[in-house]
């Protein structure tokens, strides 16, 4: 019964954060779309792609910023390279902020308490928050795949890139949720969630 009310909470979070979620999804999708469309227009031929790729191989500064120069003489490779770590970071931030908003922020302001006093299980709020963030990240992943397909990239690679971005977003949001949730209950203050409790016994948030 610790998950009682999760469904209702999910609907509620989608309602209360619909603008926030829509903006995140649209924002990340637009970022990928603008990169894809500009690379596609900038390097219309293979010769252009080769010319663009040539100075990047072995350019340590660029590699440090954007990641390994993998297949950057192809359209897909160049788009993914341009998005690079930045694209992944955006996905991660999206997952992290959505989970944080629906867990820590609500808890800190006492809204979680208001909900938890109703017929809502102990783990329902965090579960709902994680599922909503996961869904938002997954939808973004699908949109990214569609963007890649829109510049005539192969289905397989497009799907893999969308899935990779989504997986990264989930992997960042989930730990932040699962790590935050129990600590939120067992640490004396909110900043306690960012550092490990020194005592071995669980400590609850002081009233």
């Amino acid at each position: 019964m610790t998950l009682a009310g999760t469904g209702k909470l999910i609907r509620f979070l989608l309602r209360v954060s619909r603008v926030r979620i829509a903006l995140w999804i649209a924002g990340v999708a637009l970022l990928v779309w603008s990169t894809a469309i500009s690379v596609d227009r900038l390097y219309p031929t293979q010769a252009d792609l080769d010319a663009a790729a040539a100075p990047l191989y072995g350019n340590t500064a660029v590699i440090a910023m954007l990641g390994p120069t993998f297949a950057i003489d192809t359209l897909g490779g160049q788009i993914v390279f341009q998005l690079g770590a930045f694209g992944f970071a955006t996905m991660g931030l999206m997952g992290m902020f959505l989970v944080g908003r629906h867990t820590r922020a609500d808890e800190e302001d006492g809204r979680t308490e208001l909900l938890r006093a109703t017929v809502v299980g102990r783990n329902a709020p965090v579960t709902a928050a994680l599922l909503v963030a996961t869904a938002a990240v997954a939808v973004t992943g699908v949109l990214i795949t569609l963007v890649m397909l829109s510049v005539a990239l192969p289905v397989e690679g497009s799907a893999v890139y969308g899935a990779a971005m989504a997986a990264f977003g989930i992997s960042v949001s989930s730990p932040s949720g699962w790590r935050t949730a129990p600590w939120a209950r067992t640490s004396p203050t909110s900043w306690g969630t960012t550092r490990r409790s020194r005592t071995s016994s669980p400590r609850a948030r002081a009233a």
């Binding site: 209702k8 509620f12 603008v19 208001l114 938890r116 006093a117 109703t118 809502v120 102990r122």
Partner: protein
């Protein structure tokens, strides 16, 4: 069967080195409004969080509506409604939406009663919560709780931020919903007038443990009545009477405190010396409270004096 709606004994809860609850006892009978009094930091909210299953006590027993507050939290929450003392809402939801959300999460609420209460508390349910004052946010939580059919209401300083008019409306509404006699209220408060007006019994806690519990009449028993008297003959006998304290005697005039239980003896004596004027002030809950927290107040006053006295 035991009629206690809430039964707590020896509750202990520590946060690190702080003992927030230190062997707290609380007994709330079904059908009563039970006042839960104590200064800030006495452990009122912590106790309520334990009862709501939001915190797990370190030791001690707690039973609520025949269940375990931690283990049976979800089932118990169907039967209770809660109003915190500091309500924060979702800024982009309207008050009406929040009331309906809390209602639906609890498993429905009486639409008619909801509208009536919104009207009575003079709340605009269409406004977004971000535009609400503290008092209005408090009203939202109050309406959501009072419109429910919950058999137990847990109210943690529910009227903080409300003006005196709304305070009256709150008291009237609470009395109305109590009329059936099947509902129970745990009312944590430090507005003593509110407690005196509403509560059948009170529990006073301090530093995490119960210092006094009983009906208001029982507790008054423990207090002193202030008497000022002027008589025809000298009041020399007063000093010998048991239960008379802080006597200021000036021949045929006196002012003193008397243990309320000894009041009868004092009046008998006064009758023999010929009363010219008599003023007696019944003990207020305030005095009862002050007696328990007197030393803390003294401490505060000491601080104020050191601070050049510009803090009250």
């Amino acid at each position: 069967m035991d009629a206690a709606a809430i039964s707590v004994s020896g509750l202990v809860k520590t946060f690190g080195h702080t003992r927030a609850l230190d062997g707290l006892d609380l007994e709330v009978a079904t059908g009563e409004i039970h006042g839960f009094l104590g200064p800030n930091g006495a452990g009122k909210s912590t106790t309520i969080r334990v009862l709501l299953g939001l915190l797990r006590a370190d030791s001690g027993d707690a039973t609520m509506l025949g269940g375990d507050p931690w283990r049976d939290a979800v089932a118990l929450h169907r039967r209770l409604a809660y109003v915190p003392g500091d309500v924060n809402l979702w800024p982009n939801l309207s008050g009406g939406e929040v009331i309906d959300l809390l209602g639906s999460l609890r498993g429905g609420l009486d639409r008619h009663h909801r509208d009536e209460l919104i009207d009575r508390f003079d709340l605009d349910p269409r406004k977004k919560a971000r535009t609400y004052s503290k008092g209005n946010r408090q009203k939202v939580a109050l309406v959501a709780a009072l419109a429910s059919d919950a058999e137990l209401l847990i109210l943690d300083e529910p009227t903080s931020g409300l003006d005196p008019l709304m305070e009256t409306i709150f008291q009237d509404t609470l009395r109305e919903i109590m009329a059936g006699g099947t509902r129970t209220v745990l009312l944590s408060s430090h507005i003593l007038a509110q407690v005196e007006a509403l509560c059948d019994r009170v529990t006073i806690i301090r530093l995490g443990h119960t210092v006094e519990s009983g009906t208001l009449a029982e507790l008054r028993h423990l207090t002193r009545t202030q008497v000022t008297v002027e008589a025809d003959r000298p009041l020399t006998g007063l000093a010998d009477l048991p239960g008379v304290h802080d006597l200021k005697l000036d021949h045929d005039r006196a002012s003193f405190d008397v243990d309320t239980a000894r009041l009868d003896d004092v009046v008998r004596y006064l009758a023999t010396v010929g009363i010219r004027t008599l003023k007696s002030q019944p003990p207020t809950l305030e005095e009862l409270f002050l007696r328990h927290y007197g030393d803390e107040l003294a401490e505060l006053e000491g601080v104020a004096e050191r601070g050049d006295g510009d803090t009250p």
